[in-house]
């Protein structure tokens, strides 16, 4: 019922080649080729509708590409349970009657296997994950009672309980206040120590430059991919964002008119 695939050693954790994805009748992603190594932190930056979520869903094996290949440690994503997909907060039904610990335990559904209920070992995984994200004391809360930053950390805990080696986070920082953003970014540092590879979709170029090993500039195709200093040039950014990018005072400071329309969460019931 549940398939697991063993990893081949010495392979890039993620190897994407010539990926083309059609979504709702138009090309969402064109000719995407890149690879990631274990423990890397990559920020995926681009305007709204650039295909960031689509890319994550294809890598996670939830969407099928029209052509091209995704390999994780040398095998196809559909065989893998080691990919943690962390959804945008506005995609989640926060009124669902589950506690924080319940949601984190969901990460272990596959490892548990069919017909099994959580064992002591699984609760240890869940508790450890909750401790890592500093939510242990909120474990029994219903999920709508968490703040935006706590909700995001809960999903990271779920990916940890899942024993994810590749985490895909869809705009985890959008709509969070600065301390909450710092909390998430610190958590990313801890994940790096544990050799977890992380891809984060973000709108914040400054954070992308300061907290990530590499930046992927995406607008249906890869505009640029490399170290922050190599990628964040005016030319590249203009190419990715088009007219929505306004240089300020002719200096090297850029203002991106690409509002994050998600805003602060409307789900504190």
């Amino acid at each position: 019922m549940y398939s697991h695939t063993h990893h081949k050693p010495n392979q890039p954790i993620l190897d994407v080649s010539n990926l083309n994805v059609r979504y709702n009748g138009h090309m969402a992603l064109e000719d995407i080729t890149f690879h990631l190594h274990e423990g890397e932190r990559v920020a995926v930056v681009g305007p709204n509708g650039a295909g960031k979520s689509t890319l994550f869903k294809v890598v996670a094996g939830v969407l099928q590409p029209q052509s091209g290949e995704v390999n994780i440690y040398g095998s196809r994503p559909r065989g893998h349970v080691c990919i943690g997909y962390i959804p945008q907060r506005n995609q989640v039904d926060w009124t669902f009657p589950v506690s924080v610990a319940d949601v984190v335990m969901m990460g272990r559904s596959a490892k548990l296997g069919p017909f099994n209920w959580p064992h002591k070992k699984d609760w240890e995984f869940v508790n450890h994950a909750l401790e890592t994200v500093e939510l242990r004391n909120l474990a029994s809360r219903q999920i709508s009672q968490l703040s935006g930053g706590q909700q995001q950390r809960m999903f990271i805990a779920r990916a940890l309980a899942q024993e994810a080696e590749l985490m895909l986070m869809d705009e985890p920082l959008t709509g969070l206040d600065t301390p909450s953003q710092e909390g998430i970014l610190n958590l990313l540092d801890r994940l790096k120590q544990e050799r977890v590879t992380v891809m984060v979709a973000t709108h914040d170029l400054e954070q992308a430059a300061s907290h990530f090993d590499r930046i992927m500039l995406l607008n249906h195709r890869i505009v640029a991919f490399g170290k922050p200093a190599e990628v964040l040039h005016t030319d590249n950014l203009l190419s990715a964002y088009g007219g929505r990018l306004k240089p300020i005072d002719g200096q090297n400071i850029l203002n991106i008119d690409d509002c994050c329309d998600e805003g602060e969460d409307g789900h504190t019931h």
Partner: protein
């Protein structure tokens, strides 16, 4: 006090009331547990449509068997499972929006059912039994079928509880965990279909959606845990069945309607209580 006890006991001296109570409680529990997923996944319209869609199946069984009631369960079950999986497939692969597609099928099938039944002379009475249920005419044979198939539904929910919950809360997580998402979705549709067949005699086609949705929604207002929601929903549904049948007995109102009205009152009380508390 004595009068109260005799008021409560007197209806139970009739065998049809005992069987009716038992059926109402069993059906209530099964509907409440399955209904929890119906409410959480926003499938109320699907449940309503499914219940109406099985009418031509029942009508056909009715015509074939020459009016005998005992075989109707199997006709209902067969139609219900086929319709559930059919609606599931159509709404997934259709250019038309899901609710429109369901609406077209459900109204068309319902009309076909009415057309079939209208060929029989005693059609008004029989049709009203199918539409609104007739729990007081449940036979011992039907009661066994309710017990067996209701039990199977509950057992399946218990076995796949964590999969159904994960899938309902976050389908993308279920897919990344490589859970068999399509299989589980179809299994859930089948469970709803079996529940509809099991509930047919109690509340009938037209009121079915209330049994699926109302007790579960009442419980949803009062708890933040899924397992508690199922338990509370089952309690509300059982109480609705029992109180509804007493009301039906003493006030001479249709049993299915009385059960649904009681469940609705529970919902309104919970809704009001929640409003006051906030």
């Amino acid at each position: 006090m004595d009068t109260l006890i005799s008021l409560l006991l007197q209806p139970l001296s009739y065998e049809f009331m005992q069987r009716g109570m038992l059926a109402a409680v069993l059906v209530g529990i099964v509907c409440a547990v399955v209904g929890t997923y119906v409410v959480l996944r926003g499938m109320a319209f699907f449940g309503d449509a499914l219940a109406h869609t099985i009418l031509p199946g029942i009508a056909l069984g009715y015509l074939v068997s020459g009016g005998a009631r005992d075989t109707l369960f199997w006709w209902a079950l067969g139609t219900s499972v086929i319709a559930a999986l059919g609606i599931g497939a159509i709404s997934k692969n259709s250019q038309i929006k899901e609710d429109t597609a369901i609406g077209i099928i459900f109204a068309g099938m319902f009309a076909l059912g009415i057309a079939l039944i209208s060929t029989v002379r005693s059609y008004a009475v029989d049709l009203s039994h199918f539409l609104f249920g007739d729990v007081l005419s449940v036979s011992a044979h039907s009661l066994w079928l309710i017990l067996i198939f209701g039990g199977l539904v509950l057992l399946t929910v218990f076995l796949f509880y964590k999969e159904f919950t994960t899938l309902s809360f976050d389908p993308i997580l279920a897919a990344t965990l490589r859970l068999p998402v399509n299989l589980l979705n179809n299994l859930l549709l089948t469970l709803i279909a079996v529940t509809v067949a099991v509930s047919l005699q109690t509340v009938g086609v037209a009121l079915m959606v209330a049994m699926l949705v109302t007790p579960a929604a009442t419980a949803y207002l009062l708890t933040h845990r899924l397992s508690h929601m199922m338990l509370l929903a089952a309690i509300f549904a059982s109480l609705s069945g029992i109180i509804g049948l007493y009301l039906s007995f003493y006030l001479s109102i249709a049993s299915g309607a009385a059960i649904v009205l009681t469940a609705t009152v529970f919902f309104m009380l919970a809704f009001g209580w929640k409003r006051i508390k906030q």
